[in-house]
C-alpha cells in the first residue's frame, strides 16, 4: 500500500509552543500515538466547481462597491513534496481588511470595518495545480498574546490535497514584513528554510500594469513515498 512521507524534522511547529500562549491551554500534552496509515487516512474528499460561488476568486468584487486598500493578485501552484502538481484541489482563503480588521463578530480591534470587504474566497486549482485570486493586501493587527503583540500581514489558506493526511491549514506572509521576526506563530516553525516557505515573493510577471501588484506563492503538501513499499 502507498504511504505518505513523514514530515521532516523542524518543519512543523512544535505544540504546545510557550511563546504562543493559548497553545498551553489547548494543545495535547500526552504523546501522540503513531497511527499506521490505512485506507481511512490515505483517502480524502474531492470537490468539483459546484462548491464555488460568484466572485469566489475576486475578493474585491463580492459586494456592490470597491474595498479600500492596495489591490493585489496572489497566485501559485499546489504541489506535493515530490514536485507533482495537484490539479482540481480546493483552496480556501480568508483574511482581514486593509485596516487589519476581520469581518467577524468577535474581532474587536479598534480599526474600521470595510462594508465592501468580507474577506473570504475559494479557488479550485487548474490542470497544472495553479490557483489565482485577486484581493486587497491585509493589514497588520494587534492581538493579546503578550504586551504590544502584532500579527504580521497574512492571508489564511486551507488546502485539501488527495488524502486527509495531506490536509493543510496555514498562513501566507509578505516579503520584508518587519513584524515577522516578532511573531510567535510564524516563529513556531523551528527551521528557517521552512519559515521561508510561508513567505510569498513579489512578482513582476504577475503584476498587472495600472491595476494590481502580484505575489507568487507555491504550497507544498505531503506526498507519497517514491518507492513502493515491499510486501512482507
Amino acid at each position: 500500500m502507498m504511504r505518505i512521507r513523514k514530515p521532516p524534522a523542524g518543519v512543523q511547529p512544535d505544540q504546545p509552543h510557550a511563546a504562543y500562549k493559548s497553545t498551553l491551554e489547548r494543545a495535547p500534552r500526552q504523546p501522540l500515538i503513531p497511527l499506521p496509515q490505512g485506507a481511512t487516512e490515505l483517502s480524502g474528499p474531492s470537490f468539483d466547481r459546484t462548491v464555488l460561488y460568484p466572485h469566489h476568486d475576486d475578493l474585491t468584487k463580492q459586494t456592490d462597491g470597491e474595498p479600500l486598500g492596495e489591490r493585489i493578485i496572489v497566485t501559485g501552484r499546489v504541489l506535493d513534496e515530490n514536485g507533482d502538481p495537484l490539479p482540481n484541489t480546493l483552496v480556501e482563503v480568508w483574511q482581514c481588511n486593509a485596516a487589519g480588521r476581520y469581518h467577524h463578530d468577535s474581532d474587536q480591534h479598534d480599526a474600521p470595518l470595510d462594508p465592501h470587504f468580507r474577506g473570504g474566497g475559494r479557488i479550485m486549482t487548474d490542470s497544472e495545480g495553479r490557483y489565482r485570486f485577486t484581493t486587497i493586501k491585509p493589514g497588520a493587527y494587534p492581538w493579546r498574546n503578550h504586551p504590544n503583540a502584532w500579527r504580521p500581514a497574512h492571508i489564511h489558506f486551507s488546502v485539501f490535497g488527495r488524502s486527509m493526511l495531506e490536509r493543510l491549514i496555514t498562513q501566507m506572509y509578505f516579503p520584508g514584513d518587519p513584524l515577522l521576526g516578532y511573531d510567535p506563530i510564524f516563529n513556531s516553525v523551528p527551521s528557517e528554510r521552512a519559515r521561508e516557505r510561508m513567505i510569498a515573493h513579489f512578482d513582476f510577471e504577475v503584476t498587472k500594469p495600472e491595476w494590481a501588484l502580484g505575489y507568487s506563492w507555491d504550497i507544498v503538501l505531503r506526498g507519497p513515498e517514491s518507492t513502493p513499499v515491499q510486501p512482507g
Binding site: P7, G38, H104, L165, T170
Partner: protein, 182 residues
C-alpha cells in the same frame, strides 16, 4: 529524499468564518444514501474542561458498505465540517460506517476520522472515534495501540436512542482524548 520542503502548518485562528463556511457540513451523506442513520454529538473542551467555542472539526469516513468517496472516483459523501457553537458543542448526521482495511490489511472496526483545528493549535490534531457495542472493537488494530485510553475514542449511546451517540473531545487534561500522528 523528497524534492521540495513541505509548507508548515499555522493556526486556523478565531476568524475563519468567511473562508471556511460549509453549508450542510453537518450532513456527511446525501439523504438518499443507504445505511443506518446515526447522529453523533459532543463537546470540545480545553485543559480546564472549559468548552472551546471556536474550533472547526472535519470528519471523514467510509459509507455503510466500506467504500470511500475520493478524488479519483468523484464519489461524494463521507466528509463533514462543522464549527463548534458558543458552548463548544458540535453535532453531525451520518451513516454507521462499514469496515475498512488498516495498514496491515486487516479489517478495522467501524470508525470515523476526525481532524480538529482551533486558535491555540498550530497544526490540526487528528483522532478517530468508534462506536459503543460494536463487537469488532475487541480486535481493532488501532484501539490495541491505545491501552487504558481507549474509552476516549468510543462514542457512547445517548440515553434512550440507539441511533444517537455522544463523543466528547478533550484537548488536554486528565481525560485527554487520544491523538495520533501518521
Amino acid at each position: 529524499m523528497a524534492e521540495l520542503l513541505i509548507t508548515p502548518s499555522q493556526t486556523i485562528g478565531p476568524f475563519f468564518k468567511y473562508g471556511l463556511d460549509w453549508p450542510n457540513g453537518e450532513n456527511l451523506f446525501p439523504d438518499s444514501t443507504p445505511g443506518r442513520r446515526i447522529r453523533v454529538s459532543g463537546v470540545v473542551t480545553d485543559y480546564q474542561g472549559t468548552p472551546v467555542p471556536d474550533a472547526l472539526i472535519e470528519f471523514w469516513q467510509a459509507d455503510a458498505s466500506g467504500r470511500f468517496g475520493s478524488w479519483r472516483t468523484k464519489a461524494s459523501g463521507g466528509f463533514g465540517r462543522v464549527p463548534t457553537d458558543d458552548q463548544g458543542r458540535y453535532a453531525i448526521n451520518t451513516r454507521l460506517p462499514g469496515r475498512v482495511a488498516g495498514a496491515d490489511g486487516r479489517m478495522q472496526a467501524p470508525h470515523v476520522m476526525v481532524v480538529l483545528f482551533s486558535r491555540g493549535l498550530l497544526k490540526q490534531v487528528m483522532t478517530r472515534f468508534y462506536f459503543e457495542g460494536e463487537a469488532a472493537n475487541q480486535d481493532d488494530g488501532v484501539l490495541a495501540l491505545c491501552g487504558a485510553r481507549v474509552p476516549t475514542l468510543i462514542a457512547k449511546h445517548d440515553a434512550g436512542d440507539l441511533n444517537a451517540y455522544v463523543w466528547n473531545i478533550s484537548l488536554q487534561g486528565a481525560s485527554e482524548t487520544v491523538f495520533f500522528e501518521a
